[in-house]
């Protein structure tokens, strides 16, 4: 059976194709203005890469904030279930998942079958999300991709006390004007994000083995800060950003 998962996030669109229980390929694109088109495009491009055509796909499940815009999907399933399913598919031992994307962060606890037992999401506030990091990267004039490596060089992380993105940005700007080192500011930003996420993760009682997924998992600075806060080790796979799409493709096979 050939299935596909399409995950339309607030910043990026992801696709995954699974053939007979094996991930054949994945792809990440920007979502842009039109969620439906983004879904179509990212899947088409992936199929082109894999030398497959759309007709060969048996079923598609969409997920993410744009899940209901993907009209060609057979079913829309929330990213909470898809991330749980994806993580369990890639490592059946996993019992907790922290997923941090562009506009929200969430923690999930799954059972031995990968079924979500409980979840918590950030409140309606950008703190603790990828968007928060993007705003800070712009203020610091640092490429977001370099954030992780830079923060690991920090000797003395700055203290960012405000949880509001706008106020935190002014804190960052005032630290810049005081001549504080970029590394320290970035490490402070990561700790601020980690404190938000760890609070909601603790609320539902996450435990090991713990996996982190979503785009922000690519940032080793956030992962380390979270490990320190939670006093747990966190597994991050290469496929962290496309985990939701993989989970959607797995769900598609079960429809």
């Amino acid at each position: 059976m050939i299935t596909a998962g399409v995950d339309i996030g607030s910043i990026t669109a992801k696709a995954a194709v699974i053939v007979d229980g094996e991930v054949k390929g994945t792809r990440v694109d920007f979502t842009g203005y039109n969620a439906e088109q983004a879904g179509r495009r990212v899947l088409d491009e992936l199929l082109k890469e894999l030398g497959m055509d759309a007709q060969s796909i048996d079923r598609v499940v969409s997920t993410g904030y744009g899940r209901n815009s993907v009209k060609f999907a057979d079913k829309a399933i929330t990213e909470i279930i898809c991330h749980g399913t994806g993580a369990h598919f890639l490592n059946p031992q996993v019992r907790s998942i922290i997923d941090v994307g562009g506009q929200d962060s969430k923690a999930m606890v799954v059972d031995s079958e990968g079924r979500v037992r409980d979840f918590a999401m950030n409140d309606k506030c950008a703190a603790g999300t990828g968007r928060f990091l993007e705003v800070m990267a712009r203020a610091l004039e640092v490429d977001l991709g370099d954030f992780g490596a830079k923060s690991l060089k920090s000797e003395r992380p700055s203290k960012i006390s405000s949880i509001c993105t706008v106020f935190a940005e002014s804190e960052v700007i005032s630290l810049i004007s005081k001549g504080e080192k970029r590394e320290n500011i970035i490490a402070g930003i990561h700790d601020s994000v980690a404190s938000r996420i760890s609070a909601l993760a603790k609320r539902i009682g996450v435990g090991e083995p713990l996996m982190m997924t979503g785009g922000v998992a690519k940032n080793m600075g956030v992962v380390k800060a979270l490990e320190n806060r939670l006093k747990m080790s966190i597994e991050v796979l290469e496929s962290a950003q496309v985990n939701g799409a993989i989970g959607a493709a797995v769900m598609a096979a079960r429809l």
């Binding site: 904030y65 399933i77 929330t78 990213e79 909470i80 279930i81 929200d104 079924r115 979500v116 037992r117 409980d118 979840f119 918590a120 999401m121 409140d123 309606k124 609320r203």
Partner: protein
């Protein structure tokens, strides 16, 4: 399509029109009180209204009005008026929209009638004290504050004496404002009608124990208006008798509140007034019926303390021990009982930025429900009237995920 329309018609509640008519007449009477010579008192939703009825004073509830403002999606605009005066956006949206409405006579009914007096009971929150003081200054009218000590676990003797004494002060206050003696015979009759009204309301809510349920909590939010505004009157009793009969009839005929009840849920906290329809359709699309809630049952939750043969004394205890004036451990007991009574599969909590006393302790209640009953729960963050703070896509994802989780579990 014809079948669908027929289905919808069958599910429609016949009593809804009657209630709209009663409420319309009630507001017309209140708004024309100046011409009929009757006095109008504004009173908090959990306040002891019976002495007002006994004195022929028309009680008006800014909170009921707030619900109407919210349901008409006019909350944000009126809250802005209050914010322009300097009131913080963190203040209760009932208070903000009421203060805003007083300035512009806006909202769905062009504002409330000008009050002759204000009755403020702090058994529901502390905000009402400042809110009613503001309004007392604005309208330059007398304010009576009925102070109910918080009951962490019990109703101590000191509290009992303290509250009972205030009932005499309250009736004395009414004698002064109304210029006539308090009618002690009449209050006995009003008390009897109030207790009977509350009993009937409880019986109406109890019909949701049936599977499938003939009503949802969204229906209860609507039908609640009478027990809030007109308890202590014969009209309320007549109405709830008819409503009870309609609900029992629906049960007998197998008419369910939603087309396909597969999951039963319990709601906590005030409604999100401007999203009632959206929420009820959203849950119904998942075959989930919100069968009961902690909010509407608060208007019959004190029945165990009420004695119609000794109304004024027992009223003191009943009004002090309402759901919002007790400790979290007591609340947990009530919620756990409701989980069993209505046999629910999940718990939906509205974390209401407007209502701090209702929202404080929700995480503890949530944990207790999960621990004791093993059912999943969901927290939705919002404001009950201020629609500017609602995020549809965020709420939708949480509800969808919650329902997927329940489905996987069941």
């Amino acid at each position: 399509m014809a079948g669908e329309a027929q289905e919808k018609e069958k599910r429609k509640m016949k009593s809804a029109k009657k209630m709209r008519d009663i409420m319309t007449n009630y507001y017309i009477e209140a708004k024309t009180a100046g011409e009929t010579g009757k006095k109008v008192a504004w009173i908090t939703s959990g306040g002891p209204v019976e002495p007002l009825i006994a004195m022929d004073v028309i009680p008006v509830y800014p909170e009921n009005h707030g619900a109407m403002i919210g349901a008409s999606k006019m909350g944000g605009e009126l809250c802005e008026r209050a914010e322009e005066l300097g009131y913080s956006g963190d203040i209760c949206s009932y208070a903000r929209s009421d203060i805003g409405c007083s300035l512009v006579d806006g909202g769905p009914i062009g504002g409330l009638p000008k009050p002759d007096m204000l009755i403020c009971c702090n058994n529901i929150c502390g905000t009402v004290l400042k809110w009613y003081e503001v309004q007392a200054r604005y309208y330059d009218i007398p304010l009576f504050i009925f102070d109910t000590p918080f009951c962490h676990t019990e109703y101590a003797d000191e509290a009992k004496k303290y509250v009972r004494k205030q009932i005499d002060e309250y009736t004395g206050f009414l004698e002064g404002v109304c210029g006539k003696k308090f009618d002690h015979d009449r209050i006995k009759e009003v008390g009897r009608l109030s207790v009977e009204g509350q009993q009937l309301w409880q019986e109406v809510l109890d019909t949701a124990m049936n599977k499938p349920s003939p009503m949802t909590c969204f229906d209860a939010f609507f039908f609640l208006a009478l027990i809030v505004t007109l308890r202590g009157t014969q009209e309320t009793i007549d109405f709830y008798r008819d409503l009870l009969e309609e609900m029992r009839g629906r049960v007998a005929e197998g008419i369910s509140a939603i087309p396909n009840e597969r999951y039963r849920l319990l709601w906590d906290n005030l409604p999100i007034w401007y999203r009632i329809k959206w929420l009820s359709e959203k849950f119904a699309s998942h075959d989930a019926c919100l069968v009961a809630d902690t909010y509407t049952s608060a208007w019959c939750g004190s029945l165990k303390y009420m004695d119609e043969n000794n109304f004024l004394d027992s009223m003191a205890e009943g009004y002090t021990r309402i759901y919002l004036n007790i400790g979290v451990d007591e609340m947990i007991k009530i919620v756990l009982e409701m989980v069993d009574k209505y046999d629910v599969d999940g718990f939906v909590m509205h974390s209401n930025r407007s209502c701090k006393p209702y929202s404080l302790g929700q995480y503890d209640i949530q944990r207790a429900v999960q621990r004791e009953k093993g059912i999943p729960s969901l927290i939705i963050e919002s404001h009950m009237v201020d629609e500017r703070s609602f995020s549809e896509s965020q709420t939708e994802t949480r509800i969808d995920a919650f329902m997927e989780m329940i489905r996987q579990k069941k």
